[in-house]
Symmetry: C2
Subunit: 349 residues, 2 copies
């Protein structure tokens, strides 16, 4: 591997001149620049990333903090990752996937202190997030996918859960549904203050109330059989229920199964809309699901761009972005079934 010294010799200039030519850090005459680039070309020279990082104190590496929770990342989160990787590369940064236990603060501390990365993008942010508190206290550059409660002035991209929930509810209400359940994720995620779970919950309660609808909440583990049980519990307690909004991708198959076992069909007898679920997911189901799909590409991308702008001192007019979800009507939602048509089935339980 040729080094910068080799290039300098070949071009007949000083080492530093090569450096300046490469980084554009100071003006170089066209003629010498040409000689330098010729030499680089001929030698096949490539700057050494580590050496550059050591000297400049900027590695051009960022980390995506990636919790290896048992819950497991879903399809949607995966798309954050790939879009983040793409965005990093487009900005000439490398993206390291830092898989770690969310509660292991010491490990995060180490990451920030070993000088490997210039900043971090934090995923799965909670309302009171110790990691955020720590990073901020240290003054270590970061951005969030999601947001904590004390996120004022800090850079984040998050989904606009209120708007999303409103769109979902209005879609159903527009179809005549009046009693609507929200199948959230687990109650423990709620207690832990996991952003999407809490914000959606709050929005659901508020909006159903504003609209004068009958809104029912059901927490549910993120697994098909949990969805199955959730539906049965709901329908038993609320025979008028005609529609579900689910923030819980993994529960959906169970819900559908329970619906089918009752002899009902979707969307004729029951409607289901998933919120904050990637398109790839909604299309895997039969019937294809009506969904509120986040622009996942924007999420990962914006997250790293926010961080990079911050690292490069480029002021960001508005470092906070709430991304809307797009309503895609597929085949899992329809008009509310009429009450009479329903009762015969309900009793057959």
């Amino acid at each position: 591997m040729p080094t910068m010294t080799d290039v300098a010799k070949r071009a007949g200039v000083a080492l530093s001149t090569v450096s300046y030519a490469l980084n554009g850090t100071r003006p170089i005459s066209d003629e010498t620049r040409q000689r330098i680039f010729d030499a680089i070309e001929e030698l096949g020279y490539k700057p050494h990333a580590l050496a550059r990082g050591l000297a400049s104190k900027r590695s051009r590496i960022i980390a995506l903090l990636f919790p290896n929770s048992e819950r497991g990342l879903g399809f949607t989160e995966f798309e954050f990752v790939t879009s983040a990787a793409n965005a990093a590369k487009e900005n000439q940064y490398s993206l390291v996937l830092w898989s770690y236990d969310m509660h292991d603060l010491p490990e995060l501390l180490q990451l920030t202190q070993q000088g490997l990365v210039d900043g971090v993008v934090v995923m799965e942010v909670h309302q009171h997030d110790k990691r955020i508190a720590m990073l901020r206290e240290m003054g270590f550059p970061f951005s969030m996918i999601g947001r904590s409660d004390d996120a004022d002035g800090m850079g984040y991209v998050d989904i606009d859960f209120h708007q999303t929930m409103q769109d979902a509810i209005d879609h159903l209400a527009g179809l005549g549904h009046h009693t609507i359940a929200f199948v959230n994720q687990s109650e423990s995620a709620f207690s832990a203050g996991y952003g999407p779970v809490v914000r959606s919950q709050v929005a659901f309660e508020r909006i159903t109330q504003e609209r004068g609808l009958d809104g029912i909440t059901q927490f549910c583990r993120t697994a098909p059989n949990a969805g199955y049980n959730a539906f049965n519990a709901l329908i038993e307690a609320h025979p008028d229920l005609t529609a579900i909004i689910s923030l819980n991708e993994r529960a959906v198959p169970g819900i559908l199964q329970a619906v089918a076992e009752r002899g009902w069909s979707v969307p004729d007898d029951f409607s289901l809309v998933v919120v904050v679920s990637a398109a790839g997911m909604a299309e895997m189901i039969i019937p294809p699901l009506t969904a509120l799909e986040p622009l996942t590409n924007d999420m990962g991308r914006r997250g790293v761009e926010l961080l990079i702008h911050q690292l490069e001192g480029r002021a960001e007019a508005d470092p906070q972005a709430l991304i809307p979800c797009r309503l895609v009507v597929r085949s899992s939602t329809g008009p509310s079934p009429l009450i009479p048509a329903r009762q015969r089935v309900t009793v057959s339980r």
Copy 2:
């Protein structure tokens, strides 16, 4: 940030002694070692990753080559990524996600020459893979998830497609199915020599022939509507068809839909088994799919371990691993329907 010099001063030893103590590169008296570690503790010293990498010529960073193909990565591939990330971290390596255009050789060349990573794990390997040829020619350390045709002596983890296909076929044959179709991925992937597509295809043809079964091949784009069309084409040309094996996750919803539209039900009238599809996927479908599930965790993990062992000169007894898939019987396969029961439906087309 304290440096090694600070530690040395505080412990009253030479800089190099600290280095030796840290790396265990040479014997240190218990007493001075203790002093050194005390100093490290008190100062909160953390070795600087870049400096260490520069000096040692080993960055302890590896890259996962991650094609950003239009086709999009599926659930299954995603699990490779997360398991690779976990394995890297357990071995004290950082994993950078290198998203790039598979055909952009210059970019790969650059990655290997900029001194950032010690080696790469290549995903989505093709039979004649220019990337592999290049890496090998350069002598750059790498391992593969998948394998090329000339993989002799090189490290890889791949799925045992032959065994997997055999298990799938035998499962169906055991249920009395005789005419079985294989819904592969796109023909262009086949022509391009994409490993899973080619190897599964070969295995399918060979095994059905050995078993005296009627094996039909159907290429199919990786999208639901393509699956829909594929099924209709198949059933029209082969009215005896009673079962499908699919390597094509994304096509499954379309297939199921087409089956349903024919008034058939799964698994009573038709059986479907997916191969090489992560459990998370098979459970998202209704009915839950009988599947041959790869131990995805092992795939990503073994890929990075192979690479790391190679980097650290630890001889690997057998640097090649064929991972089997596990047959999980769910609700999409059943006994072959009897011919008579069938015909009335077939004509109603």
